[in-house]
Structures are given as structure tokens and as C-alpha cells.
Amino acid sequence: MKRIRRRELLKQAVVRSGAVALALGAGAASRGFPAVIVRAASSPVARNDTFVVSQGTEPNSLDPAVGTGPFQGIINAIFDGLVQWNEKGEIVPALATSWSVAPDGRTWTFVLRSGVKFHDGTPFTSAAVKATIDHINDKSVPATRRGNYQLIKDVATPDDHTVRFTTDPPNPDFALLMADGSAKIVSPTALRTYGPDFGRHHVGTGAFAFEEWVPNDHASATANLDYWGPKPRVRRFVYRPIPEAAARVVVLKTGEADVVLDLPPADIDALKQETGLTARATPAAEIAELEPAQTKAPLHDVRVRRALNMAIDKDAIIRGIMKGYAIPLNSPGIPGIWGSYNFAPVKYDPVAAKNLLAEAGYPNGMDLTINITDGRWAGDTQVVEAVQGYWTLIGLRVVVHSMDFATLLVGSSSDPDSRPGAMTSLLKASPYIDYHLYRMYDSAATNVPGTQQRTGYSNPQVDKLLDQERSTFDPAKRLPILRQAQALIWQDQPLIYLFQMVNLWGSRNGTSGYIVLPTGDFVPGQLARRS
């Protein structure tokens, strides 16, 4: 008996040993954990009826208050905001049909669309708006942009279809905040029912209703037949996180995805030759820069910062490293967003830069440190190494420190006094001009514990102008102030301005009904695809 068993085993031993043991291990593991039922992919829908969007990042949550990142497409499919951005960079109605601000600038009234229902049947009313703001302010919710909502002092609901926000201080950009991804309106019933698990039960009013989320594989939603706006022409919307850029190129080529975001620059030219798809490069509301700690020598001197900017051949970096997929940056703002102005470029001139450094008292150069997290965007390390090279050419001693992002942030938010001569390589994306100028250049923000961009830059005149523009509601009066503030900042050259980023993305031909915003967010509208 035993012999036979052994012989049987002999035959199968090699084939099965590993597989069986793995299954045992896996079995033991899953027995120990509470039973979890993972829904299998739901009823097969023909690929014709499914619109697939792919980007690199797995969502951390599909709760709009929590899930902010490069996977906004699926959240935009499920949820609507009161207002939203259109392709021209304007704010247009969504769940609110109109809005107005009282003369004191503190009270914003939104008139809500009637007859709208959440996917769970709950009618959309002012109570849902209030519940959404309360949800964002709930300390137990890890809402990453909670800070932006602190100006809301009260949310009043005089009737079902009117909501009135009181803000302090007054803010002309309040409607823009309501267009943010984090301000999408969530079902109050779902919030009550699921509590802390709302991030797994996604109920909005969007064109698509949540279907399933298989972690690291896909999140999907089905067309909402009761949608208040133009109804999608596909039955299903799928977001697929594909971390490897080369694999994203593959799914675009094979048609396994209809729209692919964050394509690698090296592949764009080849993709443009492919039939059946269109590869695009559109300006992004995002800049690449180095943030110097400037409360102490040597970087506290404007001449030094100007010389550093002057010593870098930025056009050569854009051509050589970015393969042309970046835009020269001649603004302290973000070109393309409302209120951002361009100024005279700081021309590449290593000789003038060297003279300027000598004039500032550094004829023999200085020691500088650049902190960077390798691989945050395509080409980042090469760009910083090029900068290091250009600065070495004018006699500076530059060390590049590569570190993980958490450590980098700890450094960039530490007291600038403690790191003279150091700078941090970062990307900065901003949805609107005041958000950008305030956090980058207002002394109330640049040297405060906990802020990421703690350069210590401070110019009282700039502070005053930013205060002024932030309390000016008439755009015609506000623009000149914004221009003046930016002109002052441009003189100070508080940052090492590298370039503006572009969004590299591609779509299959025959797809329509969506926009890709300068923020890189995919916004589904009346989605359609030709099979």
C-alpha cells in the first residue's frame, strides 16, 4: 500500500510539489482572514459597449474627498460637482444651474438643478451639498484637500434647491473650488449607511453608476439611464491602472484601451505614425522647477538666483532630454491658466551669469545641493543632472541627492534656515492662479511648518498685491493686480524655473465625448466609440 502511494507520488512529485504547497500556503492564509467575497467580473459586455481609460495609478479611494490623483476619470464618471471645467478653461453649470455672489463677497448662492437623482434613488437637494461639505470636514475622513475648505464658515439650505455658502475671508475663486475633484457631490444616504466604508460604496449622480472595483485590475461603472445631462453612448466605463508606461503604449496600440494617459515621451513620435490612434501633447497646468531655500546666504541674494537661472540652457534641455515635449516657462504662474502672465525670458548666458555671481561676492563659486526623488516623471534625473552640469560650467560645486519622496518632502517642508544652499526638485500643478501664487510666493505660506514649498521667499509688496487681488471680484480690476504681482515676483526669481509640462496622451480613432483637462484629468461626457 505504502509502495503504491510512493510510486504515485513519484510520478507527480515534481509536477505538483510547488503548486500544491503554494495552494496550501495560500489556503492557510485565506482561511485565517475573514471571508472576503470578490465579485467576479460582472456579466460580459461586448467590448463595443465598453469605454476603457488607462493611466498608471491605482486609486487610493473613489470617495471624491479622499481620492485625488491621476485616476480622476472614474471619479468624474460617477460623480458630478456643482460646477465643472470645460475644455476652454471656463467654469460651466453642472449640478448647479446658476450661481451668484453677494456684494460683500462673502455669500455665494447656488441654484440647484431639480429632478436629479443619485444612483441609489436619493433625490439631489441642498441637503446633499451640505452633507458633502460636512464629509470633507469630518476629521475621520482622510480628505487630502481639507485645508482648501477652511474658508467655508457656513452652509445654509434655505430650500431644497438653493444652497448658500458663507466664506471668510471673501474669495473671488470660490466657484473654482466647487469645480475641484474633491468637491463632487456624494449621496447623503450612502454616507449615512456606509460611514467610514463610503470609499467602497460610491454613489453619485454621474453619467455612470459604480459597478465594481477589483483592486489593481479595474474600476468600472455602468451607464446611468436616468442621467440629467446628455446620456453616454456606451454601456460601461472602465478605468484600468497600468503602472508600466510601455504596457500602456501596448494597450493603446492593441485597442484594449480607448484613451491612455501619461504616455512616455520617447514613444510619442512612433505612436504618431500608427494608424487607428491619435497621440497628443497638450499643455499641462504643471511646471517643473527647483525650490531653493532662500532665507540665508547664498540663495537669499536675488543676483545669485538670477545667475543660476541664467546659467541653464533650458531650450537645450527641452530639446535634448524632454524630446520637445515641454514648453519654455517665462512666468511665475502657470501659462494657460486664467490670470497668468508671461515676462521677458531670462536668456541663457553663462558669461553674464558668472559675472553676476562675482558681483554678488561669489567669484569662486559656491556649494549647492539639489534634492530629488528619482523617477517621479520621465526624464527628471537627467534634467537635474543637466542643471548640475550647467552650474558646474560656471564654477559652482553641485551635489545631487537622490532620496525617496517622503524624505524629500520632510526636507522641503523643513525650516529653510536649516538648509542654506539646498533646493528641491518638484513639480507643481495648480488649478487656478491664486492657488498657485499664494502657496508659492505669499510669505504667509512659504515659511510655515507643514507646507511642502517652504522656500522662505518673502516680498512684502508681493504679499500686499496678492491680498489685494484675492479680495477683488471684478476680473477687469483683478487682472492688472495679478500682472503687477507676477512682474515683481519675476524680478525676484525666487525659483529655478525649468519648463512647463505637457500632457502626453493618446486615443483610439472613433472615440468621442470626453475632454482631457490641463490638470491631466479625464472628463467623460457623452462618451462614444466606433467599433
Binding site: A13, G18, L22, A26, V38, T144, G147, A246
Partner: protein, 306 residues
Amino acid sequence: MLRHIAGRVLWALPVVLGVSLIVFGILKMIPGDAAVVVAGTDATAADVQAIRHELGLDRPVYVQYALWLGRLARFDLGRSAVTRRPVSYEIATRVRPTAELAGSALGLAVAAGVVMGVTAATHQRSAWDAIASVGAALGVSMPIFWLGLMLMMTFSVDLRWLPSTGAGTTAQLILPALTLGAASTAIIARQVRSAMLEVLQQDYLRTAEAKGATRWAVVMRHAFRNAVIPIVTVVGLQLGYLLSGTVLTETVFARPGLGRLIVDSIRSRDVVVVQSAVMVLSITFIVVNLAVDVLYAYLDPRIRFD
């Protein structure tokens, strides 16, 4: 027999404990503050402090370790700091795809490796032998991400035979399994070849041939059976390689799995998830080695009495 098994199991326990200490220690030593990352960019110092307290990061290291071990023993793994889902959910949703991938890659490696190895050994210095040797050298040297992309380019983009990415269907398993299994196939083939060559020179095989046994019987019944112990050892060890290889394979092919969960969690400093997922993989590996040890005793009765 039972004594042999019991002894092996007892030996595995300190190994598990040692692994847990290493896993915990490494995650303590890597720089970066988990609380800062979890708190997000707009958090105040007070928020960060609150999160640090919530995660228990403000307590002495040995207390953190002891608490973690206690929770591990009760399978109370807590919640992910990033997704706020239970860690057990995060792991359970990934066990199956990883088991499928590693299992099929191993099955492939064993099947192809044994065939290649036996053929090469019995046809020494023939074309078969050369092909197997070159194939083995290639298999070992091709990095997973490169091989994966090449297979994708060929079978998904050019030929349109197979889906490139994702998980769920058998078709989606083929390319990742080939990619992950390539190196192990090569290693197993080489091991089978050398083990077989050694056995094939033995006198008793000449005797078997002399008594008129068929070539098949000589090779498979007399030779292979005696060559199987070192092969089983290599196969067991390969599972460790395969489990670590899933990290790259799952990333390239955008498959859900434990490997990718670990990479994502390391990136977002989701320490609780990293610790638990690495422990699951380590314990799997330990269990496999235990199984291999027990298997020896079945395969070779002499080992039971050592």
C-alpha cells in the same frame, strides 16, 4: 516518519519568527515618515502627530514589534493607511491571481524543464543538448520586464493572439506565466540535465540495459527516479524566485497580485500592508520548503532515519 515531520515543523517556527523580525526591522530602518505621507500635502503638524499616534508610531520600537506580532498571531491585521480597507481584504483579493501566476509558471517550468533536461542528458552533445543549453542560458539571462514586453509586442501587438494585460481569463495568464517561468525553466532544465548525467553513468543502468529493459524504462524508471531528489530541491527553491518575480511580472502585465500590492504599498509608505503581505509570501516560502523536506522522506526512505 511523523517524528521527521514534527522535527521539520518545529524548525520552521524560529524561521518564521526570524523572518518577522527582519521584515519589521527593514521597514523600520528605511527612511521616510509614514505619517507624513499618509497625512497628505495640506496637513498640519498636529494632523501628522495624530496620525503618528493612530499608527502607533510614537511608541517604543520593541512595543510596536510585540503589538504587531500579537496582531499577526490573531490575524488581526488592521486597516491600510492609504485605502482604509482591512489589510485582510487587500491581501485576500490578491492571493488568487498571484497563486495562479506563480503556480502556472512553476508548472510550466517543471514540465518544460524536465523535458528539456532529460532530452539534453540522454542526447548528450547532440543538437538537442545544444539547443537546450542555449535556451537555458537565454532563459536565465533575460530580465522579466524585457521578456514580458517582447512577448506583449509579438503576441498582442503584432499577432493579436493574446490580450496584453489584465487578469481573470486563462488567455490573460499565458504571457505572464511564460515570462515568469522562463528563468525557472532554464534553471530546472540545467539541474535535471546534470542530475541525469550523473545517474546515467552508474553501473546499474548498464545492467538494466543489458537485461533488455527498453530505453524509456531505463531513463524514466531507473535513472530519473534516482535523480529526482536534487531536482525537487531546485524546484522548491525556484518557488522563492517565482514569488519575488511576480513583483515585476504583475507590474509589467498590470495584474493584481501580492507583488504589486507590496510595490504600491512601499511607494505610499503603507507599512501595515507591506509587513503583512511580505509575511504572507515568506510563510508561503517556508511552508513550501517544509513540504520539500517532507517530500524527501517520501522519495528516499533513507532520509527518514537520518
